[in-house]
Amino acid sequence: MAEAVMGRVPGRGIWYKVRSFLNAKLVNIFAGSLFALLAIFLIYPIISVLMKSFWGDDGFTFDFYVEFFSYNFYYWSLFNTLILGFSTMIILVIVGFCFAYLTTRGPLWLRKPLKICALLPLAAPPYIFSISLITLFGRNGLINNLLDLNFNIYSWTGVISAQCLAFLPLSFMMIENVLNSLNPSLEETASDMGASEVRIVRAITVPLAAPGLLKAALLVFVMTIAEFGNPAILGGRTPFLAVDTYLAITGEGDFNMASVLSVVLITPCVLIFILHNYVLRGKGYATITGKGMATERKPMAPIIKIPFMIISISTALIVLMSFGVILLGSFVKIIGVDNTFVIDHVLNTQSNIAIWNSIKVSLGAGLFGAVVGTLLAYVIMRGKFRGKHIMEMVALSGFALPGTVIGVGYIMAFNRPPFLLTGGILIIILNCVFRFLAVGVEAGISKLHQISIEIEEASADLGADFLTIFIKVVLPIMFSAFVAGFIYTFMTTMMSLSSVIFLVTPGFDLASVYIYLTAQLGELGLASATTMKVIVIVAISLGILQIIAKKTGLDVSKQQGA
């Protein structure tokens, strides 16, 4: 039998040569191709933006930056964006903390419903709340009319509310995680020593959770300033960076100014990404020592319980109402004005074409993204070559970069040779693949963390060469990560607006773009109906991800970046 093992050495012929070449070089071939893909589809567009912001008709210049800082219309969009980011951040840390405190320490009957409401916005694109808030508080809004208010939703209040609702799950999940990982005996000890609950929250819970709260806050900030849909729909005449970037291109065709705006928007994002990943990494007190018991807690003190419940429950109600009016709005003529039942919105051909286009694009992006993500994860984890960490950083950066910036980068990078791609469905697919790559890569990496390198060594020990190990052992084991990456990319592509809006051509609408345009025109019925269809598709995808998470312990559903 020894001969059988050894007998594999003296193979001859072309197949043997190809096979031994692949055995020796496959990882390098993968690494090389992936590097090339990342360079072309992530680095090159960003560099194009950077270049364009310094490159006028007469070569290198700072003129566009000077222009940016001399017109208040432009620099105010920076301040406005920062104000929006900070206010949303502060509100969401408070609201997220109330939710998370109640779901981890509050009355049992309230925990599950609150958690569901806090996570519900995950199943919808962020701009759903623009539509629902217009329906509720717009000029003919249900609540406006009901209470005879004269409330203007096209305002700061509107934008901030929509952003808070859209990113509630992000804030809630991160804070709940932190509160869950705090050792309950610390709070019990404080209580044992005679501290009141207010005192405990102030002196124990919040300080211990502070690093986690800070991380949540920073993420919310980045996501909020990068978000396009809500400020575009509700912002009115208030300038914001993401929206102005879009307008600079579609309105004025001013690529230089669009690039400057992009660079200005990207700067805080990059700073926070670095802060988050390198400065704050591993910070936090939330390490459990001893046994974290699921202790039976005493009832909350009213002085905490009542304000926390008011904040959480009213927010939860608005979330529920938002979904409710989307559903309702899909099936009535003009909600609040003419409440007769119609099926027209749901059956609208244009809406269905847009949905179908979105599905096609999302399937393509999902499939391609899962392949690239899985291979990247494998190469990053198992490859041995220089630049591995740079590769990982680039692959994960798509997540942190605002969609509008990548969108601008794509139209500038790919509207001329050598990569003439604009005007097709391919460029949209590629854009979504590389923007949402991070999650597929992370799923692959965490899967590979679960399986010991010994499994691959064992295969070699039993006589397998590299190619056999890769095909028969590695790929099957990574299959769940592949599927998770596929569905996540599919789902986020379905909802994605900020980047693809630059890339769609007239006559080829995606669902998200169609929703945005109909909402702009006040066609709330069509916007609602299309949103509802997206929600259904996303909800099904989330369900499948949940099943995967339960079966394999691979959880990517708690990511947000659409």
């Binding site: 059988a4 093992v5 010991s452 070699a460 020990d461 006589g463």
Partner: protein, 363 residues
């Protein structure tokens, strides 16, 4: 071939360094056919690295690995006829028990019916009949261990390598599986290298132990040799507790085979059976706690006896453990089967008698 020991595997002067760190510093050893040899030593001693060099997962910086006389040191794992059971078992999670065991055979292009037959044989060998269709997550830790063993044995390797195979099992199961592995190994007679950091595990499973420390072989020998004739202080202290006592050899009487040793507690008369010990040598006496006897201090005087005071005592049923103080020094005494004999409480004056048969280390 009975009776004649032929080396199956030979390690010749193996060095291994990771960057600046020298992990193995010249390891040479011969492993006989059918033998179970344990690599044992504290963590970081290089035992797993040595095993991985034999398996082909790491290459030695210099030195040779000879399998049946052939240098396999440069071959990748899939080209050498050594098979490894990994610490984590490394079972393929996407295959059932049967497929895991048959994986290597399939790679060798065995016909399906022969694979099935061989897998059944192996399932029977490791007492897992009827569990072939289970998935890996549906069997217990001990069963996973058996599958990993069966998978490694499927291709009838010349040398079986076991990398801390019991470390993931709980204490009771560890003992059961230890005996089981030894049983199967003896039954099929496969040459085996077993890596462990647990001295007792090594003692109880091995034909011979190779004790490593700091990248150097401290001693190779049977469990009896390791315990009763340790080569140095490290080995003496490695298995079980030991009282060390410094002394000088005053005289040796070849006629009665007695050596006379002076220690700071008094003079001792010991059996002289270690040729390397000569008159005038500075020596270290290796005194095992269970070889010492205690008696009340008023009794009759005997040779090899010191007077001391009980510093502390612990009664554990099968064993009474005492620490006896002599001035600034202490000695641990284990009194096995103390039932019915005299117990000594704290601060009692006692006589401590050490036996004549004591292993002596030259300093």
């Amino acid at each position: 071939m009975d009776g004649i020991k032929t080396p199956m595997l030979e390690l010749r002067d193996i060095y291994k360094s990771f960057g600046e760190v020298d992990v193995l510093k010249g390891i040479s050893a011969k492993i006989d056919k059918g033998e179970l040899l344990t690599f044992v030593g504290p963590s970081g001693c290089g035992k797993t690295t040595l095993l991985r060099i034999v398996g082909g997962f790491t290459t030695a910086t210099s030195g040779q690995v000879l399998l049946d006389g052939e240098d396999i040191g440069k071959l990748p794992p899939n080209m050498r006829n050594t098979k490894m059971v990994f610490q984590s078992y490394a079972l393929f999670p996407h295959m059932n028990v049967r497929k895991n065991i048959g994986f290597g055979l399939k790679l060798q292009k065995w016909p399906k019916d022969k694979i099935d037959k061989r897998v059944e044989e192996l399932l029977a060998l490791v007492h897992m009949e009827g569990l072939g269709d289970r998935t890996i997550d549906r069997i217990s830790g001990g069963q996973q261990q058996r599958v990993a063993l069966a998978r490694a044995l499927a291709q009838e390797p010349k040398v079986l390598l076991l990398d801390e195979p019991l470390s993931n099992l709980d204490a009771n199961l560890r003992v059961v599986m230890r005996e089981e592995i030894r049983n199967i190994q003896e039954r099929i007679g496969v040459t085996t290298i077993f890596v462990t950091h647990d001295q007792y595990e090594a003692m109880s499973i091995s034909d011979r132990l190779l004790v490593l420390n700091d990248g150097v072989i401290q001693q190779i020998g049977s469990p009896i040799e390791i315990y009763e004739q340790p080569a140095n202080e490290f080995i003496a202290g490695f298995v079980g507790y030991v009282n060390f006592l410094e002394g000088t050899v005053d005289a040796i009487d070849e006629g009665t085979n007695t050596s006379y040793v002076t220690t700071k507690y008094g003079k001792l008369e010991l059996d002289h059976n270690q040729e390397e010990i000569e008159t005038g040598d500075e020596v270290l006496l290796v005194i095992r706690p269970e070889t010492i006897s205690l008696s009340p201090s008023h009794g009759t005087e005997r040779p090899n006896t010191f007077h001391g005071t009980v510093e502390s005592q612990m009664y554990a049923g099968n064993l009474a453990k005492y620490t006896v103080k002599f001035g600034d020094n202490e000695m641990v005494v284990d009194h096995y089967n103390p039932m019915g004999s005299e117990k000594f409480s704290k601060n009692t004056k006692v006589k401590v008698t050490v036996p004549r048969a004591i292993h002596v280390l030259k300093r």
